[in-house]
Assembly symmetry: D2
Homo-oligomer: 337 residues x 4
């Protein structure tokens, strides 16, 4: 029977980077882990007056829970993590603008002479039972319910080459990809770059638009359940995702067209290898059947996702059916809980 | 009762540019037009041996049907065109790679020392009744049916400032945006830059993935029905789209993040004006509820689309309900036909 | 003996685009032409209160003098124009910020929520005899003399494919490249895309920094002398420049790295063909000996220049010595004048 | 009298990253340090058959000598390093193409379907006395002498936020900026992000073109002399350089226009503060008098340099004359040696 472990770090145990950390937990492949995560502000933004630039201290932003070491994970392996459940742990969540952060403002990189946009906090009412979060405008009476669609903005492993990267950076190791595709029901695949792989998870979003255009999502502390697993070898160049319906690839770099290229090239390669297609035939199929939702256009790297419907694959199974297997483990866990 | 007109240009009447052309047809606002369009290869690529670089002659690529002048359209107005029906007119369609064109190859702009990728033609079987088109690999036995999702890659008006732009370029006037969102059921809004507006339509796709990564979609001649209409004033900065479910904006430029910025900024502005929100409140709502599908990452400009679900708008109606009105005209036409 | 012609268009004769215009002057290859050009504001910005957004009317910006048709120029030929002399024709020049234009401000393409930067005019004192122009700060007492380095921001021919492009756009036809390398003593080579080539010249700058970061240079009306010539065949893909000391290539597109790629790839190809080097050997030589000054990072396309010192070429001569020949024609003209 | 120290690390002492390393040397401000550096291949590429992808092992590329801790350096201070002398230590140097690296080839980020370009090694003869290095083509008889212009591609300090970055990455901490401006006679200013600052130096180039288009320069082991100093406070956002004639700023990010923006915005700010100009007046002066040479367009971030002639500054001195002071220390060292 599946082992169930818990990872609920204290603030002193939070990590703000990927790489260079000792594991908080070591698990065997196939273990279910109940993970508690704090929001990207460390829970310090709780009302309209809690401006993040005042209550948060750089670089102590975007805490992640972890790392979790996986027994037997060696460089070149694939760390698989299936998201069984992602549930907001409070009845509120927040979003904010933040000076020099976002797609429609001058930033450190897209550097301009404009002063920063106004820093403003929005507080959302979260109703897990109803499956909604409520947006309320700050300068008028407008209010509307949005569907909950909980996800983790930041999931990844220790980077290659001994690098230590801030948790706000998405790259080949995962990290802050900020794609709404990383929701419950999805299995994510990461390259193992150091022994144990060193998985960390954070930055829960009650929901997020594609691109995260203002710079933050509906930021929420989460109670999350994952199944952590290992596939020997086959390390992907960049994180891959798999849902019941889609194969997904990611690319995190700048400019955005290069993130698109990375994600699509990997989707072409993955599709070709699963279907036994030559490279141009796989390109053709992806060209006509593929999707390309934006992850984020605000972080230190931008993230694009490539998606292919799995029904096109026929009987072919990615990673020898790892997704289905982990999904069953998760279902079993939920049933027994 | 609505007038119905026909536009079925001969090859000699095709246009390969937006701007600088006399109208082939002049219609009153509200007119239904049955438009015949040829595929982007002028119908010359019909089999595996018809390599486009050999059978097509630059710049006679991507013919469009038009322009259609709208009576009373003045600079600063909005030309609305509702797509009632887009139906492939042949039982086959084609897609190809093309030397130095596409997102995963060296191009004129992303110029590299690599030789061009192989030029290859794929022929799709199109079954309108079944709603499918069949992909067949060229270098293996794989074959699979894809759902038909007919759309027009190229729709636009005469550009501002007296410019004449090749039909393969998407920009503020529309043109070759290559977004799968431009399907039947959608109303598109364009700025009127010259008297009459001068609408042209072409480049039908039996279906297309997001980004059109290989450079071409499932290229098909189309029999299309539109309702052409006029909104006085309110010219958008870039084309906007509206379906029953979504408001959509577009941005066509490079790099891709700038196309994202253009489309999202317009979506923020449009949302704010419809809901009476201040700018940052509108930004916040779009950030959490907006979508950002890729149009193309292969043309002379890249195109991004911003999308907001209309159910968030409550009773607010874009362009005073133009979409609903034109949709009713289209339904009436279909009923009577 | 060389023929000398004059082109001094009236405001009614100014052109604001490349392409689609009848020639104002037709000359034989080898003709010297004395050209009068107005500044990019049409001479309407003359003092601190003449804000360009108020005194200028879109799209009547950036007038060019021309087109000049060259007898015998056929599609695929190379139009060569040697700049003998570029002299400011007034004792003042102006520069300005302009709303939503420049590298350090939100623009139409890099679209953001910031309001436009302040629009401000600077008037420079120009002293042709002393070879200086004087910058005077607007908000403090600082003033400093800068060396005159007159150049033309906008030089080009009719585009291919029947396109008509606003004069503010740089592309394969030349246009508004805004590189300080286009000064007196330089020969520029353009592809002939339509019979006659159709050369136009405008947008004189008393001097300009690399990138034109605020959006405008020290804008000046000019009295310019060129030798217009024709090389049969050999049309370059993008404009090339040649001085006594350097071969130069250009790339105009977005993002800036693609402009860099275009200019460097053409420099590699040109170098290889002149020295008989294989492609990678030419790449290696350019990598170690080439320069890459920025033209502009503000226009509708960005422009990069690639430069290689001619002393590396030994006896090899570009375009069979056209530059030296036209330089001699220019020297002869100056001597006789 | 100035203290003189030596740093000549063994291969076991080389570092391949910035950050996370204990100092090899700790010096007082004002110390002269004689530094030995190996080339970017660790000296393993010595002939035409030493293909770097075969003789080098990722991530053991681009070794740097250091870190050097500066006594008293605290977070927020400025670490100044003046390059007194950079001398190739062997009579040969090498350059190569490298699979998936360079501006004119598909890379990890600009991901395409093309196979890698040929990997090829060029060996340069270096003659320090004559001041030349000789390029010899591999596929033809061409050979030509190029002037030596020794520089360091990689100079930097420990990054902020506890990050550890591969030495091949340029960013706010410096690193692999690969700009030919970093030659002898120049003072570089870095932000102190950790106590001691932790300066490392490597990647000597006998010379380099702007952009390093093939991916590598004329790679050379170096014997280098620097003066290491400390300015309290005033940490720049990105590295700055100062020569006898120019103030220089850097920006390292993607796309290249953002690197341009970063470098120019910092140049505007620096110029304004030295001359007491308001922001737009400083922008205007930089716009007309500034230069913008490319550093690299091949590394994980691209680097642009902004340059302003110091003669425009009148009596104003950057960093209270640190450059002049360190230059004098260096001259004194050379005299006494």
């Amino acid at each position: 029977m599946t082992e169930v472990r818990t990872l609920a770090p204290t603030p002193e145990q939070w990590s703000f980077a990927f790489g260079g950390r000792e594991p908080l937990l070591t698990v065997a492949p196939g273990t279910v882990v109940e993970v508690t995560t704090e929001d990207c502000f460390g829970g310090l933004v709780r009302g309209h007056d809690d401006l993040p630039s005042q209550v948060c201290t750089f670089p102590y932003l975007n805490p992640v829970s972890g790392p979790i070491a996986v027994e037997g994970a060696e460089v070149g392996d694939t760390l698989a993590v299936h998201f069984v459940e992602i549930v907001p742990s409070r009845d509120w969540a927040v979003s904010t603008t933040f000076p020099h952060f976002g797609a429609l403002t001058t930033t450190h990189a897209t550097a301009m002479l404009h002063p920063a946009l106004e820093e403003r906090v929005w507080v959302y009412d979260v109703d897990v039972a109803a499956g909604t979060c409520r947006f309320t405008a700050r300068r008028s009476d407008f209010s509307v319910e949005l569907p909950l669609d909980p996800m983790h903005g930041t999931v990844g492993v220790a980077p290659a080459a001994g690098e230590v990267l801030m948790s706000i950076t998405p790259a080949a190791h995962g990290g802050n990809m900020d794609t709404p595709e990383l929701r419950a029901g999805v299995t994510a695949y990461f390259p193992v770059n150091v022994p144990g792989g060193m998985l960390s998870i954070g930055d829960g979003h009650a929901r997020q638009g594609e691109g995260e255009v203002c710079g933050t999502a509906v930021e929420a502390a989460m109670q999350t359940v994952v199944v952590v697993d290992l596939v020997k070898g086959s390390a992907p160049g960049s994180p891959r995702l798999e849902s019941d319906d889609f194969l997904m690839t990611t690319g995190s770099t700048r400019p955005l067209e290069d993130a698109y290229r990375m994600s699509q090239l990997d989707l072409v390669g993955w599709t070709g290898s699963l279907l036994g297609l030559d490279e141009l035939d796989a390109l053709q199929l992806v060209s006509q059947a593929g999707l390309a939702p934006v992850g984020n256009v605000v972080d230190t790297n931008y993230t694009m996702v490539g998606k292919l419907p799995k029904h096109l694959l026929g009987p072919a199974l990615a990673y020898d059916g790892t997704h289905d297997r982990l999904r069953a483990v998760g279902a079993d866990y939920l049933r027994r809980r």
